[in-house]
Symmetry: C2
Subunit: 455 residues, 2 copies
């Protein structure tokens, strides 16, 4: 009673694109293997809220196994695929390889530093749960340091945050940090006034949110400035160190810098040996396949795809990934069944369902088709859309409760500094603290504690 082997579909990556592809293949007579080096899907649009202590990691994550638990044709492997042998149809792991009939690469992207990878250590980016908790630690440690820093200049630098990149992540981070400092924690500190915290958003171009209509970019900048964020346009960062940010000849002392400026695709794309764009993304065919290999799809942030309806590049947002994943899944389903469907009879077209970015409490910008809104209405819309797209009913309930709570009491309760190795110890700033060691004797401890500082 031998049965014919089902076609095997490998999906690399359990983000928006990979999960959409898997779900689209739910009823197809295929054997899916979903490979991710993490065990959880992360709802990336809300990662900045973990970084700013508003939400817990588990609230915006879902175990991939649980997401596909009821899809019997889908297996999950916690594993890292490192390469593809297109000619032999092999997916390569660190310790071996395996044959695929169809392959969907959806392994996403990471930060890029425009050739200055050394900036990564001083200006981390935000792509994973680990990134988010590390960012949270840096934000919270900056205030701890400032509280006991006797030197006014160093204290000022500790209370200054820089964000490089004025896209949605940069804008949302800047607003959220300013909100924590101004509203959630001022009463927690005795020596500093955290509401004097400076947050500077550096944008290389001439407006923030360049993917939004100009009108909304201006609105968003207005919202940020109302909150107290300093927006620096046409500010090309030329160096970032532990001490601050260089913009050409100008130097701004900043202790904590975050990176939200550039991305580069997962390096597995480079192993295909096909043309890539400057961000390392695979330049795909109009049907999202690799040239000469109709069995290999590249989707989501790994793909440099053009939308057939308008010739525009597909943007690197959740909707882009979901639509590409669905297209690839649908194409494979049809191919296996020997049928065709309206969706895949044509080349891939991206349907823009709109853009949303939140700046702060009751402040957001939204563009949905011809509709452009800002302020409270956009904020409500933003909340509803994000709740709707979160995976898992419980996550939705939890996040809604957390938001309502944060909104009502102006609190950010997930303020954990975790990760043993990186806890930097601050010293009591006090008139009779006596430094012992020669290397710290030069430090500005031991000075009289000033009253509430509001430099």
């Amino acid at each position: 009673m031998q049965t014919k082997r089902l076609p095997r579909v490998f999906i690399v990556g359990g983000g928006f694109a990979g999960l959409a592809a898997a779900k689209t293949l739910a009823e197809a007579p295929v054997e899916i293997m979903l490979v991710d080096r993490r065990n959880h899907h992360v709802f990336q649009p809300l990662l900045y809220q973990v970084a700013t202590a508003a939400l817990s990691p588990a609230e915006i994550s879902a175990p991939i196994r649980t997401v596909v638990r009821d899809q019997k044709n889908c297996q999950v492997a916690l594993s890292e695929a490192v390469g593809v042998d297109l000619a032999k149809q092999r997916l390569i792991f660190k310790s071996g390889h395996i044959h695929y009939d169809y392959l969907i690469l959806a392994a996403g992207a990471t930060h890029a530093y425009f050739g200055h990878e050394e900036w990564a250590a001083v200006a981390p980016g935000l792509k994973s749960v680990e990134d988010a908790t590390a960012m949270r630690r840096r934000i919270l440690l900056a205030f701890e340091t400032a509280e006991y820093e006797g030197n006014a200049e160093a204290r000022r630098a500790a209370l200054t945050f820089g964000i490089v990149g004025g896209g949605p992540t940069g804008v949302e981070l800047a607003g959220a940090i300013k909100e924590i400092a101004g509203q959630a924690i001022p009463k927690d500190f005795r020596h500093i006034d955290t509401s004097t915290t400076r947050v500077i958003l550096f944008q290389g171009g001439d407006r923030i949110l360049p993917s939004f209509p100009t009108k909304l970019s201006e609105k968003a900048q207005q919202h940020l400035e109302d909150l107290g964020v300093e927006v620096r346009l046409n500010a090309r960062v030329t160096n970032v160190t532990n001490h601050g940010v260089h913009i050409g000849d100008e130097f701004i002392p900043i202790r904590t810098v975050f990176w939200a400026a550039g991305v580069k695709a997962n390096p597995i794309g480079a192993t295909l040996g096909v043309p890539l764009d400057t961000s390392g993304r695979v330049i795909v065919q109009p049907d999202l396949t690799v040239p000469g290999h109709p069995e290999v799809f590249v989707v989501g942030d790994m793909a440099a795809a053009k939308s057939a309806n308008n010739g525009e590049p597909v943007p690197g947002v959740a909707q882009g990934g979901i639509q590409m994943g669905e297209y690839a899944g649908c194409a494979i389903r049809n191919r296996v069944a020997g049928t065709s469907s309206p969706l895949t009879r044509r080349p891939f077209s991206y349907h823009d369902k709109g853009s949303l970015a939140v700046i702060g409490k009751a402040k957001a910008v939204a563009q949905i088709g011809a509709l452009k809104v800002s302020g409270f209405l956009a904020w409500i819309l933003w909340g509803l859309v994000h709740i709707a797209f979160l995976i898992g009913f419980r996550n939705r309930v939890q996040v809604m409760i957390s938001w309502v709570w944060n909104w009502v009491v102006n609190s950010r309760d997930a303020r954990l500094i975790t990760g043993d190795a990186q806890i930097q110890v601050t010293l009591p700033r006090s008139s009779d603290f006596v430094p012992d060691l020669p290397e710290t004797a030069a430090a500005p401890h031991g000075q009289p504690a000033p009253e509430k500082v509001s430099t």
Copy 2:
């Protein structure tokens, strides 16, 4: 307009004992400096629920600054005190020292391995949020490994968990791991039946929960065995390795071992130069002070104290810490005011408010005064008491919602494997996976995938 300097009280440690001391001093004319090397208080009795993916770290933690935010005489320093100079009244930090008028040491305890500190790497314990997320990672990775392990013996070891120590933490961990494996995740896996997971609780003595009445120890063991946990009494662990646990001549292959057997006090106690007990705890006077130094108190898990009412040692539980912290705070308050109070006119007495331990859904044991209950009623009681003692209204609401949710849908949603460095990659177990590298060629990959395994 010079004002007299207020007496300075240093409190080392923001656990139950340290926070209780600080709060007791809220109205006193003193200047309190609360020093902790973490920025958050952790509700340790629920840490095992973070380790077993039922709760998020932030749900059982509270930023120490926020806890004392409204107490104007209390400053907080994120710092690690490393020693005390009793003669000079100095608290010593890594980089300097500072004078105290009163000192309360409440820095707690960590794991002890009976002189086998090398076991720490293979059998971690549970004291901090980092410990809990590391434990969660190990539990979840064990199932991931088993899913793609082709060798039946190795798979069996991966699906076996050992817990050393039959006190409340060990008992609660054992029950919770068995519950995850049996109820929360079986449908997530394709190749293994996680409900066949073995959980073995090793207890050196002749009953578990030795601090409880014998009747309840028996009940608790019955509950654990009903759940499917194997309880091994009089089982003295003689070695623990990556491969398993040795009990004398017997060897049990276990991939994942946790330690809940012994504690040792924070090493700062040893710098006092006064007598310690075998666990490194400071042997305190009846009024919880250090011999010859009525200005220095040692409280909580750092203190080897006897209760004046019955001569019994004060147990290392939350209630013990809280009562000792209150006593020390009250004593200092009286001393500063030149008054006395009923509490501190006598030596410290511990008032046992009861003991509680939970084994699983609707299964717990409780002893409150003469009342001994087990089963559902004890479980409800356990929940109410823990909610009541959690710090922060929001934490209470969140934890209650999480519990109700977990109870209704049998879910454990905080199943994040985090921490980049330690993610171990599993390989797809499949008939055509081809191992490449010599060192993995010997591994049992590449074998035909068996059907649902239920060894």
